[in-house]
């Protein structure tokens, strides 16, 4: 049981801690897991989260930054005032827990449908798009000399990579071909400014409370690149959950997002943001195809994966809405 290892671990690095309790697995595939647990402490329980690759799963997928880099980025973000959980401990071999890290648990909601509909978030919702702009500005300003080693990608390299991923699926889709063509024709070229890019900044990876954004999670796809990529990705229709007239995660307008970003002293390039929104829509579509392939070839032969494969057509209609709106 994981609680035994967690108990031994927390007693080593958390002053006063006597053990760990209430461990529950939140999510995870074979190579990466998230657990919640409480540290037993005389001053009261401390909510914690373990993010790890279990023993024997050391190698991260090619696009992933790796858990050590993720911990370092979250800590940097926390120190810079970007909403982020505090990293409490980076796993060492004596922990016997695999590789990864333990962070303080931030209470709040990540389920988009609740954030977009529940009364608890009614006061926060009108401010979220602008607030998200400010959070992204802070994230893009994290000091480059302190960043861990990260992959670096230009738009041109990303198009080539997605094209390779798509072709490997052997899944001919005229709409995806059209989108690939559009992306090549509208490639904005290398960004004049290269910053840290979160890479998966969207609904589901943000903890929201009644007062707004409390934490940015899942830095797994962080890399160096065009900061406008994060602004485009958060606008992809797949994260609006039905609120399609509010492009920023179903919360608000692009103008509010840009205003929040620029109020924090940074500059937006709306044409580049649109390019990355198209790219992001295609990217999610190809990811759906990847789910279909993994469902087919196993080992995860789950109904959920099968149905995500069928969601590729959602990105096809969204690509058409972006590239060939009807009545235009």
């Amino acid at each position: 049981m994981i609680e035994a290892e967690l108990s031994r671990s927390v007693q080593r690095w958390c002053k006063g801690a006597t053990g760990a309790t209430s461990a529950a697995k939140l999510s995870g595939g074979a190579s990466q897991e998230t657990w919640r647990f409480d540290i037993v402490h005389p001053d009261g329980p401390i909510g914690a989260i373990l993010r790890r690759s279990p023993k024997g799963y050391g190698a991260a997928p090619t696009r992933a930054a790796g858990l050590a880099a993720e911990a370092q980025l979250m800590q940097l973000a926390y120190e810079a005032g970007v909403p982020s959980p505090r990293v409490m401990h980076v796993l060492v071999p004596e922990d016997d827990l695999g590789t990864g890290f333990i962070m303080q648990r931030v209470e709040g909601e990540t389920i988009a449908r609740k954030i977009l509909r529940d009364d608890a978030f009614a006061a926060a919702r009108p401010h979220l798009a602008r607030q998200i702009g400010g959070v992204l500005a802070g994230l893009h300003r994290l000091p480059q000399d302190k960043l861990p080693e990260l992959r670096s990608r230009t738009a041109t390299q990303e198009i080539a990579e997605f094209e390779r991923d798509y072709r490997s699926l052997n899944w001919p889709k005229p709409v995806f071909e059209l989108a690939l063509r559009w992306l090549r024709d509208h490639d904005p070229g290398p960004s004049t400014e290269v910053t840290l890019v979160h890479g998966d900044f969207r609904n589901g990876n943000l903890i929201i409370g009644s007062n707004g954004v409390r934490a940015v999670l899942d830095w797994e796809l962080a890399h160096l690149g065009d900061p406008m990529e994060d602004l485009g990705w958060v606008c992809v229709n797949s994260w609006r959950f039905g609120e399609i007239d509010k492009p920023v995660g179903g919360f608000g307008s692009r103008e509010e997002l840009f205003a929040g970003y620029e109020a924090a002293g940074r500059t937006c390039d709306p044409a580049r943001v649109k390019f990355w929104e198209v790219m992001g829509t295609l990217r999610w579509g190809i990811m759906c195809g990847g789910m279909m392939q993994r469902f087919r070839e196993g080992p995860d032969h789950s109904m959920e994966r099968a149905m995500i494969g069928r969601r590729a057509s959602e990105t096809e209609i969204d690509l058409l809405r972006l590239l060939v709106p009807r009545g235009s």
Binding site: P172, K173, P174, V175, F176, E177, L178, L180, R181, N237, R240, G242, E243, I244, M303, E304, A306, M307, R310, R311, S313, E314, E316, I317, D318, L320, R321, L323, V324, R326, G327
Partner: protein, 125 residues
């Protein structure tokens, strides 16, 4: 020819049974998985109901667009290749209309509640 009831009637009867009789009895993660299972059966029922007509219309449009014959899969592969090579693009007469019609037919099966689909449906097609 296979006997009746038809696959459409069969999948629909299983989905209705799970929805009405079983769903009230289960909770938690199993209830979530049951919802996914029911969604799959509903999707299959929609596909069985609509596929024949929408594939026939798609093939007809593809034949006109490409000037060749073939199965719906072969024709889609050919169209994808021609777009990739730049031989067909949005300036090609009929391409945008074809992609819209095909995509709308797909959404009608895959995700009729998807907001973008409902919006486009409201605007007529």
């Amino acid at each position: 020819m296979q006997d009746e009831p038809t696959p459409i009637e069969l999948t629909k009867s299983v989905a209705d049974f799970l929805r009405s009789d079983i769903a009230p009895l289960v909770s938690g993660h199993q209830a979530f998985k049951l919802r996914v299972a029911i969604n799959i059966l509903d999707l299959v029922t929609r596909q069985l109901t609509q596929e024949e007509g929408s594939d026939a219309a798609e093939v007809e449009r593809l034949r006109a667009l490409l000037g060749m014959d073939g199965s719906v899969t072969e024709l889609n592969r050919a169209l994808a290749e021609r777009i990739a090579k730049g031989e067909v693009d949005l300036a090609t007469s009929g391409l945008a209309e074809h992609l819209w019609a095909t995509t709308m037919d797909k959404l009608a099966v895959d995700q009729p509640n998807y907001a973008s689909y409902k919006r486009e449906l409201g605007q007529g097609g």
